[in-house]
Symmetry: C2
Amino acid sequence: MERTEISKLGEFGLIKHIAEDIKTTRESTVKGIGDDAAVIDAGDKYLLVTTDMLVEGVHFDLSYAPLKHLGYKAVAVNVSDICAMNGTATQITVSIGISNRFSLEAVEALYAGINAAAAAYGVDVVGGDTVSSRSGLIISITALGEVAKDKVVYRSGAKDKDLLVVSGDLGAAFMGLQVLEREKAVYESTPGVQPDLDGHDYILERQLKPEARVDAVVMLEQLGIQPTSMIDVSDGLASEVIHLCDQSGMGCALYEEKIPIDPTVVTTASDFKLDPTICALNGGEDYELLFTVPIGDFDKLKGSPHFTVIGHMAEGAAQQLVARDGSMHALTAQGWDAFLNKESPESED
Amino acid sequence: MERTEISKLGEFGLIKHIAEDIKTTRESTVKGIGDDAAVIDAGDKYLLVTTDMLVEGVHFDLSYAPLKHLGYKAVAVNVSDICAMNGTATQITVSIGISNRFSLEAVEALYAGINAAAAAYGVDVVGGDTVSSRSGLIISITALGEVAKDKVVYRSGAKDKDLLVVSGDLGAAFMGLQVLEREKAVYESTPGVQPDLDGHDYILERQLKPEARVDAVVMLEQLGIQPTSMIDVSDGLASEVIHLCDQSGMGCALYEEKIPIDPTVVTTASDFKLDPTICALNGGEDYELLFTVPIGDFDKLKGSPHFTVIGHMAEGAAQQLVARDGSMHALTAQGWDAFLNKESPESED
């Protein structure tokens, strides 16, 4: 029998291949695979559905990720996908697979984080499954949300000359991971040495306990802005910009100098001899919202400290990064790919 | 730090413990944890949500479960939970974790089964996640469904003197598993010997490719029967009867002689020196519907070859099995418990 390695396709290639055979037939299915969440017609409004699976040793490392933070993060990444549709998360189901290495106290810590996130985001935990696993911890969460029919935002709606905008700043979660990995390596080679995490509060929190930008969705509404396309930044800015461009049939110009990067990311990147722009482009796990708005909305956005215009869409053009020196580079997705064993640990619907 | 082993609580104990800390706050959350599916108010009707996680080596054994059948079964068990609410399944999300042991062709086989089940049950695959796993295959499916608000059935609605009814027959999936395990053991001790599966078609199909009783939900509607309580038989009849009784605040009399068991289950049980009644009570994975109806509905049911009255509810009484010889026995749930390492491989919301 023929055998094709999955690594030949990569994660996105595999999903694309699987999706080719999947047709939807229900009238209520408005949008299936291919966006941050599925969209289902629920009468007065749209129901949103998204799901993420986190696997120990692949998506998280319990040697530095506290279980409580992990539970919080597992909820946040799903809520983030609902935000990316311009929606409000309402309910989640939580399935966990645990080996007998885990005690009741460990499960309690995990659920303390899940419940804290549920409270923070106003979502109800309405179901789940609890099974034993032969090795390690598996967390699979499905989030439901809702959005008014005229407010839903897809990846595919960007138009020529639309501004490309991102919330918050980028690259910090990736830098946090680098610090954690470094201190883990030190600890493993010299047991007893205390990890040196001083001064890294921001980037560590961005890695270990990211927040979904529920507040940004509310702010956009308050600013009277309806994005034309939107996605959350889970795999790195470059990968997400390419998704918006590809699904909208657009090229773009992304300006390196505009990419919002926290000063502590710049200094830490320097310690690691990494380019902070590369960290932002390819790091991932920022869970910021990347979206496009008509150019006429610029005035509504320009005063906000929460949003940064980083480029614009361009019909018929290439997908390009404009470097600080003015040179142009083709955007390429170097984000994490589970099946190619890249660096940043998040995946996509 | 204190350490309490999860095996001390068992699966149901763990779920109960976790659920104690979970409160729902959204107005749209009608029913959270504790039934076959969660119930969410979606305006004109109720939305149903259920999820199941299947883990290799715990819930299935790829040495005899073909991937295509496994994909089909993973969908069917979720659709079955929607049926148990008297609902119609509409959409599913499918998340899989796979190690590099799996080829693209293996993933294709799994999805061929998932897509076949989706087509058979009229559900759309609308999303999912595809991640790498360090060991083995993990399948996590969430099913959405819908039900008219006046048609939803919970586990908790059984009344005194209601008849206890089950669709189809019981114990076959468990006997199928016994045959598969026996032949696997023979093959492992004497490689090259062909497995002897002749004459076991029915019980093997019940184990490897069970069907959700979507047809039974339709039949109940056609018969003009609105069950007062319902659950699907995933953990064994005894466990499910106890769930209905406990959640409805009832005792019951379950008549051994009434339990529907296929003749091939009786003969195979005899080969294995097993009591077929015990197989039906504790085996599990039948995915039949167990429900209660007012005694006045007896005439509507009695002609149907698809439903069998196996007992009745009794307020203030014990939960009892009435054996063939008339002796009474307290019903006990000996169904599979992932954390106690019992025999039959299914778990519960």
